[in-house]
Symmetry: C2
Subunit: 269 residues, 2 copies
């Protein structure tokens, strides 16, 4: 449930129908796990948001203002997920970005998803989605507001026993799940799909890659993925989730996954 | 300028920050040219909106309600462009479509763009965009709210003498411009790119195809496009626009283009 929201710093839960975030998905977002007033991955979220603003030519909001607003909206929640949405602001009809656009800044706090001990301990079940990710290098990696592919993919199943759906790209390479990044271990070597043609460069993914600097970032076919010794997902909201079943095939939860779960606990999660 | 807007039938110009149209671009839109209370292409807009709702599993609003609302918001304008936006409504955080989502319906009237006699008579200049359209058959043809590709493409130039930008797909096929569909005439035969892998199935395009039932819908390479005898754009807002220059190359305004401009006038535009 939503606890509190600020729009451009004001207590307000609505935006103009002329906002380009609504009209065209012209903006970015971050979903940030807070533990009280602290967000262990905050600097990575700000880094990605700034990279995204640069790539979309959006003005970059001051991180100190965003942090103050995130702490304000989440202050009554012992734990929370804060979503920061940044759009190109209101504009006239038409795709052309307005010269004088004032970005719209939406900061909203939500209750975190309930902690799922079984998922963390034993792993989750993942299906294979029929929806493929289109290849668009201009937008790849960004957490932008054009997310119909994820909506369509997530609508493919309704079974609560299936926690996630694996997304392949148009060429059949494994990329991510609908809302998390994907890691695989092959003979002790950690690898994650490149996200330079589609997919999102997750903040939790960046943390894993920083903790494991020898991890490989490369194309991974679905066929190769099925031969992995370990599979896990990374999510800034849900942390490190072992995969115990992919599309009917069983996987063991291994040492690399457990080590990264420990790392997550050391971060404070 | 926006004249008047209704959200779910109420005089209101804002929507919830939790609306999935804003959060994920989870919705569709139509931009409809009105002449007083009449919109000559109204049935085609309703047909496309219904097709889109079916493909995205959105509930279909009653056309009679949409028409009444479109006429209400535009009633003070002798001519107008009415934008109807339909989203999956508000939802909790997460891509999964809510089971009980109530669609959000936004109906807004705008002044039409100024009539450009020179553009209609002599044609417009079109540049070639570097931004390519990604191939996504699940979304191709739909006028959905995920329009960052068009925003990026339209941001590529600022010269007011250039009216439009040509978009190719990832394979280099010519598809459309940033905000209009594309037609070419080769030896008297009319052709328009297929939009089953990317692009938007324009309402004006449908009208042209209906008026010219022998027109070809097929892949058109950029190279082939440069050999066309005539080039024109179709837009529900701007009508039939001859192209007199594509990426520096001159084109003559021909008989097929003029005949379709006449057809547009006969429609009442």
């Amino acid at each position: 449930m939503i606890a509190r929201v600020l729009v451009d710093g004001r207590a307000e839960d609505r935006v103009s129908v002329l906002d380009r975030g609504l009209a065209y998905g012209d903006g970015l977002f971050e979903t940030i796990r807070f533990l009280g007033a602290k967000a262990p991955l905050w600097p990575r979220h700000m880094q990605r948001l700034q990279d995204g603003c640069r790539r979309l030519s959006l003005s970059v909001p001051a991180p100190a203002i965003l942090l103050a607003e995130a702490q304000a909206v989440s202050r009554d929640l012992p734990q929370s997920v804060v979503r920061i949405t940044l759009t190109r602001g209101t504009g006239e009809r038409g795709y052309k970005p307005p010269v004088s656009a004032q970005a719209t800044r939406i900061v909203a706090a939500f209750d975190p998803p309930p902690r799922d001990e079984a998922a963390c301990a034993e792993g989750i079940r993942v299906r294979l989605c029929a929806t493929r990710l289109a290849l668009q290098p201009r937008l790849a990696g960004l957490k932008h507001l054009n997310r119909l592919e994820q909506v369509l993919a997530r609508a493919e199943w309704d079974d609560p026993a299936i926690a996630e759906g694996l997304l392949c790209d148009a060429d059949g390479l494994a990329i991510s799940t609908t809302a998390a990044n994907l890691f695989a271990v092959f003979g002790g070597v950690l690898a994650t799909p490149a996200v330079d043609r589609c997919g999102i460069a997750g903040v939790a993914r960046a943390e894993v890659l920083s903790a494991r600097p020898h991890a490989q970032v490369r194309p991974i076919t679905l066929k190769e993925l099925r031969r992995a010794d370990e599979l896990f997902l990374s999510s800034s909201v849900r942390g490190i989730l072992p995969v115990r079943e992919l599309d009917g095939q069983a996987f063991a939860v291994g040492a690399v996954t457990r080590a990264l779960q420990s790392h997550w606990r050391e971060l404070g999660f």
